[in-house]
């Protein structure tokens, strides 16, 4: 298999930073808890992309193994987070995250 020259690493850094900031902005901006979860997944994916770009640059497979673990942790976290969200919906009837500012009492 021949070598694919590809895009330079600086462009990948920029792309990953932009994706991360879009995810962070989405977490702060949206009120629906499911969309907040999806923006958290977007942030995790931005970090994965950055790790794989650097593994291509430094020619080591360690970063790809780390991406593997980050993906596994993200999958486990989505399962538990969605289960929590379903319980919240069952108890309060809404998926608004501003409900939790009234948790006291």
């Amino acid at each position: 298999m021949e070598l694919i020259p590809g895009i330079s690493t600086e462009h990948y850094i920029f792309l990953s930073v932009v994706l991360f900031c879009i995810g962070a902005f989405g977490v702060m901006y949206r009120k629906n808890a499911i969309i907040v979860f999806m923006c958290i997944e977007l942030m995790l994916n931005a970090v994965n992309l950055l790790l794989v770009a650097f593994s291509r640059q430094w020619n080591g497979a360690d970063a790809q193994v780390f991406v593997f673990f980050v993906m596994a942790v993200a999958a486990a976290e989505v399962a538990v987070g969605l289960a929590i969200l379903m319980m919240i919906y069952r108890n309060t009837g809404t998926t608004d995250i501003n409900v939790f500012s009234k948790l006291k009492g």
Binding site: L3, I4, G6, I7, S8, E10, Y12, I13, F14, V17, L19, F20, C21, I22, G23, A24, F25, M28, Y29, R30, K31, N32, I34, I35, M38, E41, L42, N45, L49, V52, A53, S55, R56, Q57, N59, G60, A61, D62, Q64, V65, V67, F68, F69, M71, A72, V73, A75, A76, E77, V78, A79, V80, L82, A83, L85, M86, M87, Y89, T95, N98
Partner: protein, 152 residues
């Protein structure tokens, strides 16, 4: 890009579909970056399992419309300003961070399954997290099943 549409679309089902589009494009970038195994795993795990979970939850909760009576203008403005400043700071900090090229010439076999397997099972620190992650999955499965029972 499709990531912006994830944040800004009104219907949550549209957000999930745009997120699937984002995941496929990130998987395409993985293939370009010589991480073939990770690209396939990415498609299978994210676009195949996690997005299906999200769609199940959205369909079960029956969220068709998205009305936002509680997001004040001040918080929207604050979110935009802080997101913009975060992006400026990160871009400025990583501006010339892509430094040295690797000394080894052959970079085409990094992402192959054989090489990843060797790194996963031979290196110093990666075998223990691999086994511990199975315990993690067990814990998350037990937690997810336990949290969704109607009567405890």
């Amino acid at each position: 890009m499709s990531a912006l549409m994830v944040v800004f679309s009104k219907n949550p089902v549209y957000s999930v579909l745009f997120l699937i589009l984002t995941f496929f494009s990130i998987a395409g970038h993985y293939f370009l970056l010589n991480a073939q195994f990770l690209g396939m795993v990415h498609i299978i795990v994210y676009a195949g399992a996690i997005m299906v979970l999200f769609l199940y939850v959205i369909m079960m909760l029956n969220l068709n419309k998205e009305d936002e009576p509680g997001t004040t203008n001040i918080s929207k403005f604050a979110a935009t300003i802080s997101g913009g400043i975060l992006m400026l700071v990160l871009v400025a900090a990583t501006h010339s961070a892509a430094g040295i090229e690797s000394p080894v010439a052959d970079t085409s076999q990094i992402g192959s399954i054989e090489n990843l397997g060797k790194v996963l099972f031979n290196e110093n620190g990666f075998l223990l997290p691999f086994e511990i992650s199975s315990v993690l999955f067990l814990a998350s499965m037990v937690g997810a099943v336990f949290l969704s029972k109607k009567e405890l």
